[in-house]
């Protein structure tokens, strides 16, 4: 038996096989994560007349395992902007903490004179709905500023070959109080559009959203109820077809009155009748 310190607590080689030494990078270039571990799937969003609706489901998958079913992937920044994260969940946590620090810094610079007392403290309390009124004077970072900042951050990490493995949607209002919606991903690619989606949503949900909001003018005609319905429809379709999705989701509506965030929504009116018509898989032989 090998009693040396390096073998303490180590399973025996003759029983379990030797360690795979290729995991120990003793030489060669240093490199960071090459693939995400615990991931969130699509985030979808659409602009409407007075603001933006954004939604993401509450699932964090560990590969093909639906591991965590209460993960909130919509995070609120400074009560005025919602950031939706798809991709690696630990990177999402890092960014969330980082943005929290940024929000605290911003509130230092903009200590308000007359503050309304109606603000919730933490955005992740277990209640399903939280309405936040803007405690946020004119000087604070708006969605456009935040998006630019994230873009710089993610691009910088990409250049360092150490990316934050996320695809992010930023929803809010810009400096002129017009609805703002933009995407930024792990490579630092950033763009804006009346409707956006990450991951599977880009293939499945975008065509649906584009039927209603192909251009900015069309989006500006949508009402809030219409926008919410479109999003709910898309979330349903994603649950039908995205194998790494869940029927519980979070949805947020951002307007100049603030953020209305619901975190325990359940998909309704699902119809799985079409499943019977699918042939050729499993035990069915006809």
């Amino acid at each position: 038996m090998d009693h040396r310190p390096q073998a303490w607590g180590r399973p025996r080689d003759d029983v379990y096989g030797a360690y795979d030494g290729s995991y120990f990078q003793n030489s060669g270039p240093k490199f960071a994560t090459q693939s995400p571990v615990v991931t969130g799937t699509s985030v979808i969003a659409i602009k409407f007349k007075d603001g933006v609706v954004i939604a993401a489901d509450n699932l964090a998958s560990y590969g093909s395992l639906a591991r965590f079913t209460n993960v909130k992937r919509l995070r609120v920044f400074l009560d005025t902007t919602v950031v939706g994260f798809g991709g690696d969940v630990s990177d999402m946590q890092y960014l969330d903490r980082h943005l929290n620090e940024l929000a605290i810094d911003e509130s230092y610079e903009n200590d308000t004179t007359e503050t309304a007392a109606a603000t919730t403290t933490s955005s992740s309390d277990p209640s399903s709905t939280s309405t936040q009124t803007p405690n946020n004077p004119a000087g604070s970072l708006n969605a456009a500023n935040l998006h630019k900042y994230l873009q710089k951050l993610l691009y910088r990490r990409r250049n360092d070959f150490d990316p934050l493995w996320n695809h992010i949607l930023v929803a809010g209002l810009d400096a002129s109080s017009k609805p703002f919606l933009a995407s930024v991903d792990l490579r630092g690619t950033a763009f804006t559009s009346p409707s956006l989606a990450t991951g599977f949503g880009a293939a499945l949900a975008q065509p649906i959203m584009r039927r209603y909001a192909a251009t900015e003018e069309d989006a500006a005609k949508l009402t809030r109820e219409q926008a919410v319905d479109i999003i709910k429809e898309c979330m349903k379709v994603l649950f039908y077809r995205d194998a790494r999705s869940l029927d519980k989701y979070s949805i947020a509506v951002v307007t100049k009155d603030g953020v209305e965030l619901k975190e325990e929504e359940q998909l309704e009116k699902q119809s799985w009748a079409f499943a019977e018509r699918i042939h050729g898989y499993g035990t069915q032989t006809v």
Binding site: E109, G139, L141, N145, K148, Y149, A175, S176, S177
Partner: protein, 267 residues
């Protein structure tokens, strides 16, 4: 050479709790020529009286644009002012590139305040020998800040620093209530009148020795977003019209109360 035992460096308190080096630095500010700043609801204005070393030499520039939306007026050691203004320019540019917006003026001013305060608390450093008036506009409107060598920064409605600036401040205090609603031209005229209060008996404002800097902000009619009138410095012929418009008034008689001449104190 030294007035007392406690003025050798800025890490020494006097028995009364004063730091003499910082107070001496403030003297350096008083040696610089006078500059005046005023902020209204829509504009922030800086006016400066420039000096020349000799008859034929150029006049020392006193107003500098830091960014599109911020400008400064200096009084005191010009080289110290350059260090601070370079720092401010870098901060503004970095902020713009990172966030895509004008840097909020208060944050910028707080940064130079902190920078200057460190120089008053560590051995081997000396306080900055320059006072600044920082005029800028942001989402909340126009602002005017005073920066002192001690690191103290305060937002003002109007202020003046430099040689004999107390006379200008007296004028500003008398007309304080009028400034908020002044238009652009009126504000510049007030600034120049305040400046004139601080001039020596036989001196006049000319196009060579006067500088004017203006920044403004207004709400766009279409979508309510802020439209910035970029900070611009006016010299030479450009200030002629303004100088003429205040030339008719008696020296020191330009205040609303019409209380007659202000006191002209010799250098």
């Amino acid at each position: 050479m030294f007035r007392n035992n406690y003025d050798n460096d800025s890490v020494t308190f006097s028995p009364q709790g004063r730091i003499f080096q910082v107070e001496y630095a403030a003297e350096a500010v008083k040696q610089g020529s006078v500059v005046v700043g005023i902020a209204s609801k829509t504009h922030a204005v800086l006016v400066a009286f420039k000096r020349n070393a000799e008859e034929l030499s150029s006049y020392q520039k006193k107003l500098f644009a830091i960014d599109e939306h911020v400008g400064i007026a200096i009084a005191g050691l010009t080289s110290d002012a350059r260090v601070l203004s370079n720092f401010m320019k870098q901060q503004c540019l970095g902020h713009r590139l990172t966030y895509g917006r004008n840097m909020p003026v208060r944050g910028l001013v707080d940064m130079i305040g902190s920078k200057a305060q460190i120089n008053t608390q560590h051995y081997g450093k000396r306080p900055y020998g320059v006072g600044l008036l920082v005029a800028g506009v942001d989402e909340q409107g126009p602002h005017l800040f005073e920066f002192q060598p001690s690191g103290m920064t305060e937002e003002m409605v109007a202020f003046a620093i430099g040689a004999r600036s107390q006379m200008a401040r007296t004028y500003l205090e008398k007309n304080l209530d009028a400034f908020a609603d002044c238009g652009r031209e009126e504000l510049v005229r007030h600034g120049l009148k305040a400046l004139k209060e601080s001039l020596v008996q036989d001196r006049e404002l000319t196009i060579e020795n006067t500088s004017v800097g203006i920044a403004g902000v207004s709400k766009s009619k279409e979508d309510g977003s802020s439209v910035v009138e970029p900070f611009k410095v006016f010299d030479g012929q450009e200030v002629n019209a303004w100088i003429e418009s205040v030339a008719d008034d008696k020296e020191g008689g330009g205040d609303a109360a019409g209380e007659g001449e202000g006191m002209d104190v010799d250098a």
